[in-house]
Symmetry: C2
Subunit: 296 residues, 2 copies
């Protein structure tokens, strides 16, 4: 993040929650564009954005936001992608680059592509970064540093537009990978969607138990549960959409998870200590590799 | 942790991994005993303990360690509790207090109690604190600060011995709760044992998938998976024993977890977005309470 060179004139952020606002901050900090405009669906969020002062201007309508933009970044819950595309489509300027940051790629590509004019270029993307916090206040410019951003072009995506989006992510500190949308959706199902689903699930189970039995689960959260509560504090609307839009890959991976859990359950019931120890030892190696890959 | 007052003359640590060595460090730092002796089953660990210099002496035999001790702290994988009790029983000095730090209480009480002479006092305990690291190098004196320690007396436990162990935990920074062993085992099953089991399980599922499909799961661990790899890096031997010794409570809680997961799976399959959003919203409140309770 050293060379200061403008990549775009006018950037429009459609959606400015954790991801959108972090990218806006990073683009301004690294001076990658002459100006950054943001639009958020909720008037309350637009007010908070103005107050935060992290972008050059806050647009009062989505049409105003994309007007004249040469880079449009869509960072909304993936279920809202089609609505956004329908509304911005007629206002996208020729040769503009449109990208997104959605956690699901096949369904988002199907939702957005038909509404992007032929004169513009859509580059689907997904930065593998985040925290459990949401909203524009939760963003920060260094969120993407050292993280991977996955770009999932289709046969119709222009090479030069891919290069422009790749440059953007590199300049905010990310490493960039290219893969097919289908492969992305499977990898993310297991590395992100299923972990979140399981965290939401166990925290829900515990909330019920707490009500039923008056167990002091909050006091003793330091025994391991607290990490799950953190993950399960993630944005409900965003995650609802992820599971709706990546249904098949999630259900497939959930099937594998449940089969393996049944095997562990059986080993516990039968008192098979050796099998448990073998399984628990093997997982340490993966942790070491995550640390070595600087993704811990 | 202000008043410097000796609580014990000679403390013996039986087992000096993450928990035992942290307690040893804290006892020395707070000057709670005249001397701290440690024993570890493995000669290699004894050597590392001597080298670390965190205790006054390292005993070469378990009998030597407990000889003359007025406080004996057992911090071993819970499956080893009975062996330890059998070996130390004949060497425990009259009026000595014996306590443990095991993550399961009913089975540990059954294993240890018969071997403690009537002239001594056994106070079962469990500090709800830890990290994913193990071994004496991983310990640190502040591990217990602000955390809860659960003491689970039986009808035979002496009140004055409970007070002594309570004082010890308070002086190393913990808050102390008293509950029955059975209640402890249920609360811990859901707040600690099931979260660990699930983390071990999903990391295992991912390790298999990675082998089968060459998925780049390590690169994209920042999407949520990394937290599970951290938890699943915990000591395999310790956790094997926890699941063997707390089998019934774990299987009961696992049943609840699996039922709830099936309901989520069904909602995803049927495209029931509202139900997902409701479930995901409810979990945020529990996170807030964990933060408010300073257990995040």
């Amino acid at each position: 993040m050293s060379t200061k060179k403008l990549l775009f004139d006018r950037v429009a952020l459609i959606g400015a929650g954790l991801i959108g606002s972090s990218l806006g901050r990073a683009i301004r900090q690294e001076q990658l564009a002459k100006s950054v405009t943001a639009y958020s669906r909720r008037s309350d969020t637009r007010k908070r954005l103005s107050h935060l002062g992290i972008v050059d201007s806050v647009a009062e309508s989505i049409e105003e936001a994309v007007d004249g933009a040469d880079l449009i970044i869509i960072s909304v819950p993936v279920g809202a992608s089609e609505d956004v595309a329908v509304r911005i489509g007629p206002h996208i300027k020729p040769d503009a680059v449109v990208t997104d940051t959605g956690s699901v790629k096949e369904s988002v590509i199907r939702a957005i592509t038909p509404h992007i004019p032929n004169s513009a270029n859509f580059v689907p993307g997904h930065p593998i970064a985040g925290t459990e916090n949401s909203g524009p206040e939760a963003g920060f410019a260094s969120l993407f540093e050292g993280r991977w951003c996955v770009i999932t072009p289709t046969d119709d995506t222009s090479e030069s537009a891919i290069d422009q989006v790749t440059n953007l992510w590199r300049r905010v500190g990310s490493k960039v990978d290219i893969m097919t949308p289908a492969h992305h959706d499977k990898v993310l199902a297991i590395t992100s969607h299923i972990p979140h689903l399981i965290a939401f699930n166990i925290v829900g189970t515990v909330a019920d138990l707490e009500g039923d039995t008056k167990m002091e689960v909050v006091k003793y959260a330091a025994g391991g549960f607290r990490d799950f509560t953190r993950i399960a504090a993630s944005d409900p609307e965003m995650w609802r959409d992820v599971f709706m839009e990546n249904r098949e890959a999630v259900l497939e991976m959930l099937g594998r998870f449940s089969e393996d859990l049944s095997a562990l359950q059986r080993a516990i019931r039968r008192g098979d200590a050796n099998s448990l120890e073998t399984k628990f030892t093997r997982t340490r190696d993966l942790r070491r590799r995550v640390i070595d890959a600087k993704q811990a």
